[in-house]
């Protein structure tokens, strides 16, 4: 009878393992979170430099980024900077996650990976378009807050297909975005803490917990 119990126990364990590995992207690298955080902080500091260099008034956060006839030209370096940071962070995550998958002998590109990316890109793409379409009319502080809010929603949505812990990262990103809306004068600082620091803390935690 004990043998049979062992057999059932093994069955249950195998079932749980299969359910988990076939429905979740478990190769997401914690290290890529740290990299995203560091890149985010560097990007935010760069953005702050650009903002102050274009002789921004003290209440720059209450005015649209791309205001007036020169607006778009002034907004362009910021937009390029945001795009570069996003692409670097995304490539870093893709590279490290592929490597982590290879090391543990599993495939990185699976139906789950595709489902995760789609649920990440729908809110993220919506956010990107929202920012492009409103940068000329909506106050800069609101734009900065909306990057955090849309990103947080994207993380919550993609989180269903990867480690459960990432859900809380998304919730905290959305919360940081809402704080940012309430205190727009501190939006760059809130962004550095809310995106940069949170990603570094989350990445370290996941790196230590899941080794990779």
């Amino acid at each position: 009878m004990t043998n049979q119990t062992d057999q059932h126990l093994e069955d249950i364990q195998a079932i749980r393992r299969l359910m988990e590995s076939s429905s979740r992207f478990l190769s997401l690298s914690g290290m890529s979170g740290i990299i995203a955080g560091v890149l985010g902080i560097a990007g935010a500091l760069g953005a702050q430099l650009i903002i102050t260099r274009i002789s921004a008034p003290v209440d720059w956060y209450a005015r649209p980024f791309a205001e007036g006839p020169d607006g778009i030209r002034e907004f362009l370096p910021l937009f390029v900077l945001m795009a570069v940071v996003l692409i670097l962070a995304f490539s870093g995550a893709a590279f490290l996650s592929t490597r982590k998958a290879r090391k543990s002998g599993i495939k990185a590109w699976t139906p789950v990976t595709r489902r995760m990316l789609v649920s990440l890109l729908i809110p993220l793409g919506t956010g990107g378009l929202f920012i492009l379409l409103t940068a000329g009319t909506v106050p800069a502080g609101v734009i900065i807050a909306s990057t955090l809010i849309f990103y947080g929603l994207a993380v919550i949505s993609a989180g269903k297909f990867t480690f459960g812990e990432i859900h809380w990262l998304g919730v905290l990103e959305v919360a940081a975005g809402l704080v940012c809306l309430a205190l727009p004068q501190y939006s760059v600082l809130i962004w550095i803490l809310g995106f940069g620091l949170l990603h570094i803390v989350y990445g370290l935690f996941m790196h230590l917990r899941y080794r990779g």
Partner: protein, 98 residues
């Protein structure tokens, strides 16, 4: 004990069948290649277990063409989901009762 064994489904006795049901229970659908890679079994072995589960009405098969290549996709039926979860409960009961 008798009640527990009543829910202990013969159709799920094989590891491969348990594996197929586990994967399809948490995924809306999966194709033959996906199942093969996830479960690490041979074509013939997988095909025969899939056929048995399909005949029992626990899973359904859907044939389609993706870029002119035939693609066979499998998903769990309501009946399959119900039987699989009672089987799981029975397994857990058995372990708890030892």
């Amino acid at each position: 004990m008798k009640q527990i064994l009543a829910n202990f489904n013969k159709a799920f006795e094989s590891r491969v069948r348990l594996g197929i049901m586990s994967v399809l229970a948490v995924n809306p659908a999966m194709d033959f290649t996906g199942l093969k890679e996830t479960l690490a079994v041979t074509d013939g072995n997988l095909a025969s277990h899939l056929r048995a589960l399909e005949e029992a009405g626990y899973i359904r098969m859907e044939k389609s063409f993706i870029n002119r290549k035939p693609n066979t996709s499998y998903s769990i039926t309501d009946d399959g989901m119900e039987s699989f979860s009672s089987h799981l409960k029975a397994l857990e009961e058995l372990i708890r009762n030892q």
